[in-house]
Amino acid sequence: MTKLCSLSEAINQFVQDGDTVYAAGFTHLIPFAAGHEIIRQGRKNLVLARATPDLIYDQMVAAGCAKKVIFSYIGNPGVGSLRIIREELEAGRLEWEEYSHYGMISRLQAGASGLPFFPMKPTAAGDLERSNPQYRRVIDPYSGQEVVTVPALNPEVAIVHVQRADAAGNAHIWGIIGEQKEAAFAAKHVILTAEEIVDEEIIRSDPNRTLIPEFIVDAVCHVPYCAHPSYTQGYYDRDNAFYLDWDKVTESREAVQAWLDEWVFGVKDRAAYWEKLGAETHDRLKVAPLMSTPVNYGAY
């Protein structure tokens, strides 16, 4: 059954004010186009959960979409601070809930597994555990030693970008797979964005590559270049210049607003955004092919 629809329709239907949203991807496949569409549709009071908020949440916070962030690392990867989120936190205008990477991912793993919590070995550091009452402890019933726990995270909606999917939502992902699968299974609704919509026979030719199966997916959106300025392995490169530029843009709120006006509100959709980036950027982010060696499943 096809679930193909526009990203605008998917956001309109599955992201509501006040929702907890998990836009997945660890540096890779970050669904920027979906973040921009959420900004365009003016969603408010969202709880933005993500191990690494990256620029996508900095932009959504700047646009006033969020009341809270849940995270484990709020940096601009390879550059420095996420200035907007940092300022809002320092000013007391944004709520937050904080974990280590492993704590954050364990929350998703618990949510995806239908478990109420996940255990982790203690790290002895102590201060984050003391600062966040969601960190708790249970006694290992075998050794009598304590383990640390985090509660399941079950966002209202996960947004997951993939390389290729069929119209029903079976998705192939390769390269860094971060927490894509866990976020999708943990969430109540899943919006899939894909570089390519392919015939199901392509998916079925390599079932071990399918990290997300159709029946947990609510919407399938064909959104080429969805991940810019992050990247899609094999499709285009990371736009490192953009990450450096954002650091400069965010030195002033006026510049941020001007950027949002031009690049989010000023474009209709991701196709228009990509077009507007221009030929020089397109060329700069191109990548030569490097294909995997096929495997034989056998015609049983």
Binding site: F26, T27, H28, A51, T52, F71, S72, Y73, I74, G75, P77, G78, S81, R86, L89, E90, G92, E98, Y99, S100, H101, Y102, I105, S106, L108, Q109, M120, K121, P122, T123, A124, A125, G126, D127, L128, S131, Q145, W174, G175, I176, I177, G178, E179, K181, E182, S230, Y231, Q233, D237, R238, N240, Y243, V287, L290
Partner: protein, 252 residues
């Protein structure tokens, strides 16, 4: 001959790595140090990135922890849950690199906040993976510029465990890793003594003990002789500048 801070820190960090080590690598200087070690004395170094990449062979200098060049040609890619559980928590990581805004006398690290946690004066990026790396890697190394504000007596917030209040406290905590083994700075090298206190064990050529003391926030001590580090060799510098960072992004 003089060297830049980045050159000194990278070359000396590289020399701490052993052939066959499995290293949890960050971007920046740790990445340069690992690649330098792999091209010199440690060809069997296995580089693991917290993004889930194992045995990376980057064809270009990775600019972020998730650079696609880390994936193409790597040995394996796994999920974030797997990298932290099957690799790090399970004890499969020999070496972790750490950094932070503050490192204290017992090697504890603050990467979270300056001031009060609930009302941050300066909000830092937070733990990321460092809380677990500091606890579970067999050996940890810290690369950082040597500045008084970075080396307080006690960190404002303990993001990652060094020796806590001393070796005995870390041992009692039961965490499997050996804790910080060395802090490599632009002035020299600090190493934990038998109590877990970071003491000065080496200086780079031309650096004085006083310089190191003046740039440390606690009464920096040393036991016995202080070694002078071997200066970076021409070959090390050639690899760094010609092969690893030709655009001078990290090495200026």
């Amino acid at each position: 001959m003089t060297f830049t801070a980045a050159e000194l820190m990278t070359v000396n960090a590289a020399r701490l790595l052993r052939d066959g080590d499995t290293v949890f690598v960050g971007v920046g200087l740790p990445n340069l140090a690992c690649n330098l070690a792999r091209r010199t004395h440690a060809p069997g170094l296995v580089m693991i990135y917290e993004a889930g990449v194992i045995g990376a062979r980057p064809a270009r200098l990775p600019l972020s922890i998730g650079d696609p060049t880390l994936v193409s040609g790597a040995n394996a890619v796994c999920s974030m849950y797997d990298i932290f559980s099957l690799y790090l928590q399970r004890g499969n990581v020999d070496v972790g690199f750490l950094g932070g805004a503050q490192i204290d006398r017992f090697g504890n690290i603050n990467a979270t906040v300056i001031g009060d946690y609930g009302r941050p004066k300066t909000r830092l990026p937070g733990s990321g993976g460092s809380m677990e790396i500091a606890a579970w890697a067999n050996r940890c190394y810290i690369i950082t510029p040597h500045q008084k504000r970075r080396f307080p007596e006690k960190v404002d917030f303990r993001t990652s465990a060094g020796f806590l209040g001393g070796r005995a406290e870390r041992a009692a905590s039961g965490v499997r890793g050996g804790g910080p083994q060395a802090v490599v700075t632009n002035l020299g090298i600090l190493e934990p003594d038998e109590t877990g206190e970071l003491v000065l064990t080496a200086l780079h050529p031309g650096i004085s003990v006083d310089q190191a003391r003046e740039n440390t926030g606690w009464a920096l001590r040393s036991h016995g002789t202080i070694r002078i580090t071997e200066p970076p060799t021409a070959e090390e510098l050639r690899i760094l500048h010609e092969e690893l960072d030709p655009q001078g992004i990290h090495l200026k």
